[in-house]
Subunit: 354 residues, 2 copies
């Protein structure tokens, strides 16, 4: 049994999308149980229509709902201790749920998650990890916007977090890790990225296979299982890829409707286009994962539909089912024990055997 | 007449692609004249086959050619004063050419360009500008990899450079400028980006229309004519968009060849696909422009073909024809005179009238 706490008020559409989304999860993950937090007048009427969801859920009334446009500081001030978002996060802290899912606003959710769950020992700052569809399958990219800038040690933290997530989701023993960088010329590259690369290579952890630097176009190629970068570049990469995908879909649509022959061709190839659309369906990869906190929080896209919300919930389910938090804790312990062993024998920077 | 100096040894294929590329330019820009630098045994035999190119070109023998994998420091040490790359850049410095084009390695070309041409007065660091196809047409994005990190004043320099380039290429009086940033939440955003935004808004220059922050997905939408960012994020954005475009082309190819119906559909819609391919043809937007130096240098993609190389040359031609350097100088003067006038009256930060 996996227990999932849900902020039923989050997102642009609230319970009217969230409850039907959970219904889909109930069908596909029969041992999932739900703790639903929200305003009674908003949630209960929808819940009445989904008896299968009601049967596996417990509902908790919360007077306050964080709005999509609340600033993080405002949300914390008004919603701490009592909002549906806070209560859903707190359920993870109290051990009442293994994972929390919200489609609420990202800034507020991150601020509350940090305040409530705190970062793990040995982790300075949390990251948001995204699942990125690639030619070879899927990769994990982090950080896509939790923090601006990251020094070498934070990049190593992100690598450990991302590797653990890849092992929990992709059934890999030793996922490959790449540090996002620019070009290969000597004058290029950030000092912190190079330092992180050097330390990862030396550490040679059994939990990950450090591949080296990757460039922006390696993400879509699936050159590595996990791409690590700081939040500014990661967010720009994610959004610029999304923009390009929309742009090409638009080109394709306009090309296919221009002439009669093209429209006939479209009819013949309709099932191929359907497959393509499924391949490009962002709903299926919905869910940004907050990593580095004492508990898993999944942020669903605010504007998604029930299918998209169910994908975010199932992502949370799968990570909890595969003991992501325990994996991260073990990996951090391994890294830091190797590191301090290296420091004791004075070999951590030169011998490459830590 | 526009005089263009060419590093005929640059790129993966050297003169065998470069001379046919110039041939295409000769057909479309009849008043272009060329100064070709390269090894006689490599260039002259190809030139013999293209009499129309030979008729409008002067050839200068250079013993040394910078290799594609030379490090910038190595290229400078071995190729300064005498390589075809250096000589081509130097022709711009000496006023023998209005613009230099090379398909040689980016790091070496930038190092030599900086060393030979020097940055303009008032410009601290050069930028590489790329032309980005968008749903609405084309935008300029800079910096895509010349320098890592940029403070507020460098971002303003880049805005002035990009705005001048947009006016030279897109026939706009007052191009819109956006600063690339992440999200809109208060905890987010780099200090330097915010400071640059504040200063641009206050300056209210007549040469550009400052639009505000844009996100990664605004680039492909064409939300602004010029997107300004520092080189790390800019390079990641460019490469990640390229990666996504390749990935989707791959999906499309595989979807269209899977079933008989899809293949029949493809045949009907062939001209539509052809249009799509043209729309996505990166050769047509080939050319990174080095801005901020005392002269224009265009970097063509090293692996491009003659069509792609001709696009880079024509980009250089168009910028020279439209007096890019003079526009930049005038714009920098305008900005700095407004600024010092503002400082004299003590109004530069508060009144918004500088």
């Amino acid at each position: 049994m996996i227990r999932i706490s849900i902020d039923a008020m989050g997102g642009d559409h609230g319970p009217s999308v969230i409850i039907p989304g959970i219904q889909k999860v109930v069908e596909r993950r029969p041992d999932a149980r739900f703790l639903l937090f929200g305003r009674e007048d908003a949630v209960v009427p929808v819940l009445e229509k989904y008896p299968r969801v009601r049967a596996v859920s417990e509902f908790v009334h919360c007077e306050v709902a964080v709005r999509m446009d609340d600033k993080p500081s405002q949300a914390l001030r008004q919603g701490r201790w009592k909002s549906s978002m806070w209560k859903a996060i707190e359920a993870v802290k109290k051990g009442e749920a293994e994972v929390c899912v919200s489609a609420g606003n990202t800034g507020a959710l991150m601020a509350m998650s940090k305040f409530c769950l705190r970062t793990m020992a040995d982790i300075e700052r949390p990251a948001i990890a995204a699942i990125w569809p690639t030619i070879r399958g899927e990769s994990i990219v982090l950080d896509v916007g939790a923090t601006i800038g990251a020094d070498a040690h934070q990049l190593i933290d992100f690598s450990i977090l991302g590797a653990a997530m890849a092992r929990a989701l992709f059934d890999l023993d030793r996922p490959t890790i790449g540090l996002l960088n620019v070009g290969v010329e000597e004058i290029k590259g950030q000092e912190d990225v190079r330092e992180a690369g050097r330390l990862l290579r030396e550490a040679d952890l059994r939990t990950m296979d450090y591949h080296g630097f990757v460039e922006g176009d390696d993400i879509g190629k699936g050159s590595v299982d996990v791409v690590v970068t700081e939040g500014f570049a990661g967010n720009i990469a994610l959004k610029s890829a999304e923009g390009t995908a929309k742009q090409l879909a638009e080109y394709l649509r306009s090309a296919m409707s221009r002439t009669l022959f093209a429209r006939i061709g479209y009819i013949f190839a309709r099932s191929a286009f359907q497959r393509l659309r499924e391949k490009m369906d962002v709903r299926k990869i919905n869910g940004g994962v907050f990593l580095g906190l004492n508990g898993i929080v999944v942020k669903s896209h605010g504007g998604t539909d029930d299918e998209g919300f169910s994908a975010a919930v199932e992502l949370g389910y799968d990570m909890a089912r595969n003991s992501l938090i325990e994996k991260i804790r073990a990996d951090l312990d391994l890294f830091h024990s190797q590191r301090s062993a290296g420091e004791r024998t004075g070999t951590q920077t030169a011998s490459g055997d830590i």
